[in-house]
Symmetry: C2
Subunit: 419 residues, 2 copies
């Protein structure tokens, strides 16, 4: 079965569906204890859905959140971080069509008004509501439109409202990033679902683009935070489309406990639940990269050796190099650009004994070109997902970054669109 | 008069020709004491010139060089740095069509062979020859072709060989970056000339793309090094096309002393000569940016306030943001992307009181949008050279970066071309 049609949700070679996880139908709805809605409130000129409301009806909800680390963090991020009880959220208000970023004090006041209205609509305290926005930076929020949207959404809250909620959070996404999973834990069966958006301005650091994850497992806020922290680091934090950290990145995990299945700290349940969450977020991160604005091909670079700072710098340099990304787009092996990007990231280390392997075929050893089958390499880099491995001198460190290619379409899109 | 035709060499609003500097005709030739040649040796598939030889006939030449800081520095860089007398060079051998990078031990041996042959051709010691290469990374040098090219170039060495030499160092350059200047110093008149290439893989750090500067002033090697160091930091080091540090960047200043005019340390002559060199290199850096692969518009971002590391990070982040660059290309004001880029470069500082001014019109104050004339701003960003000013909290630091836009043509070019 599949979450989004014929193609299974777990479709990347870089993510394996754990044996105890199965995909549910796109219409399976949210886990027990959750309701959602998405409506068109007029924020998007296209008239598409742009206000989403997510409510957790549990007696004792638990939650955890990761936000962008941007110095220019948007008003909804600042307000949620300062005023919301992030470990016990009961509702989330999201809007697309306006990021409410670079809007100063007025932006904070506007956000606070919508937080209050969402709280009233959900019948909870304002501090139990988190906010998230995405869309154009530097525009003020149309508060009246959002307030109307909240009222409309309130009337449509439903257990199967996740599809509408998904529509309301999307902007430039071509691919729907939504999943409904069943997870078999030793203590019983639980559900896990996610709605996620992101295609451009993607280079999360200790955060992500908008991603909302719900489960009916009973998990303490502390465990929730731990699991989200670890899995975000291995997923959204390892993905880049254009190296651009957003002002609005938000990843949120909410637990209703409605299944009655408890995930205790350091238990086998926690391990299994963590595996499921990890696979879910990694697949969503890979989908974001594959859906990178104008992208036609995605890649993973693995860097091994050296030290943690060195492999991180080298991997990010390769993943964000417009030359490497343009070559990836053109199906051009051009591995000299990988050596160049690594060399640029590690100054004053020449001559650097770097190894490069593409799709399992080594092309460079200790900094020098070696003989390889050029025709075969030409063929290998035509794949939809291309893997680069970089070896640096030394041992003990390893990292990976997922990235998309750079296409004329990305430029077309971003030279004509006011984000 | 003009170095390159009807348009004067000093054509950017960001560089002022000093009053004591005048432009000479493109055919003025090299300063006294220099000869050069450029020939086609078959390294470029196009059959265009690809081997250049520059010789200084002075009794006591002085020189200084800056190289790329890349960990993947090419063989000619490694060899020149290790084996050449960089403060007393008598010859430079340059080739295009092959970077001789990622070529390991064989690359060094190949480079050494060409260094020896160039020394024999110029009648100097191998250690008095510097090497520079540009072209495809990961390809081995066709040594036989270069040796034949050296012999041919030797027979064509001439005082007005700078135009041919220029042809031999160019690769993807659309615009010729060459100048012949007359400089009036208190102690007398001297000449200054330069041949320079660079259009992609441009993000020098303490170095530049290939740039060869000659003067007939008598300058000590120590002063030569000081002047080159200071002026490279204010020119090539402040320019970016695609944020990609090259494996082969080289900037070289050679002094023949043939004019008999001595530039003594800490003299008025040194000050005036430095001003001329500074204007020359800054104009060349701006020309590189304007000639960025596929570029149609160039920009300068000035960041003030904060601290030196902060302004540097912020300026580089703006200059290398594909979103800012695509907006520049499209003539789209879209200043939210500038705030986003600055925020991404300065994590964990939210809310950051950033100011943004475009072409003198302030659009953002203390992190928040302000009212401005949108129609007028739309008009201002259509200029060929666009200026962004970013203010950060605090005082005492300021920097600038010149950058080009990101166009579909850049992607087309770099997805089909093996560098």
């Amino acid at each position: 079965m599949s979450a989004t049609g014929a193609k299974p949700f777990f479709c990347s070679r870089w993510v394996t569906r754990p044996a105890h996880v199965s995909e549910l139908d796109a219409g399976a709805g949210l886990p027990g204890g959750f309701r959602a809605a998405g409506v068109a409130a007029g924020l998007k000129p296209s008239g598409r859905p742009d206000v989403g409301l997510l409510v957790c009806d549990a007696a004792r909800p638990a939650s955890a959140v990761r936000f962008t680390s941007s110095g220019a963090a948007a008003a909804p991020v600042l307000l949620s971080r300062e005023r919301s009880r992030l470990d016990a959220l009961r509702a989330v208000l999201v809007n697309s069509g306006c990021a409410n970023a670079a809007t100063g004090r007025r932006g904070l006041e506007d956000a606070a008004k919508t937080q209050g209205a969402a709280a009233a609509a959900a019948g909870v305290d304002p501090a139990e509501v988190a906010l998230a926005s995405t869309g154009g930076i530097s525009q003020f929020l149309d508060v009246d439109a959002v307030l109307k949207g909240i009222l409309a959404a309130r009337g449509r809250l439903a257990a199967d409202g996740d599809a509408d909620f998904q529509q309301a959070i999307q902007t430039t996404d071509a691919l729907e990033k939504r999943a409904s999973l069943a997870v078999e834990l030793p203590s019983g069966a639980v559900r896990l679902s996610a709605q996620c958006k992101g295609a451009g301005m993607i280079s999360p650091r200790f955060a992500t683009m908008l991603c909302f994850v719900e489960t009916d497992a009973a998990i303490s806020a502390e465990t929730c935070d731990l699991l989200l922290g670890v899995t975000v680091k291995r997923s959204f934090d390892r993905a880049t489309v254009d190296g651009q950290l957003s002002t609005n990145d938000t990843a949120l995990l909410m637990c209703s406990g409605a299944s009655g299945v408890e995930v205790a700290p350091e238990s086998e349940d926690e391990l299994r639940f963590g595996e499921a969450l990890d696979a879910l977020l990694r697949q969503l991160a890979v989908m974001m990269v594959a859906d990178g604005e104008g992208a036609s091909r995605s890649a993973r670079v693995i860097v091994r050796g050296g030290n943690p700072e060195g492999v991180e710098s080298a991997a990010r340099a390769v993943a964000n190099s417009p030359l490497v990304k343009a070559a990836l787009h053109g199906g051009d092996p051009n591995w000299g650009r990988i050596v160049q990007a690594v060399g640029g990231a590690l100054p004053e280390t020449a001559p650097l004994a770097v190894d490069v392997t593409i799709e399992g075929m080594q092309v460079c050893s200790a900094g020098a070109a070696i003989l390889y089958d050029e025709a075969e390499l030409d063929r290998l880099v035509q794949r939809e997902e291309v893997e680069y491995e970089v070896g640096l001198p030394g041992e003990g460190a390893e990292t990976e970054v997922f990235f998309s290619d750079l296409s004329q379409a990305y430029v077309e899109f971003n030279s004509a669109y006011t984000t």
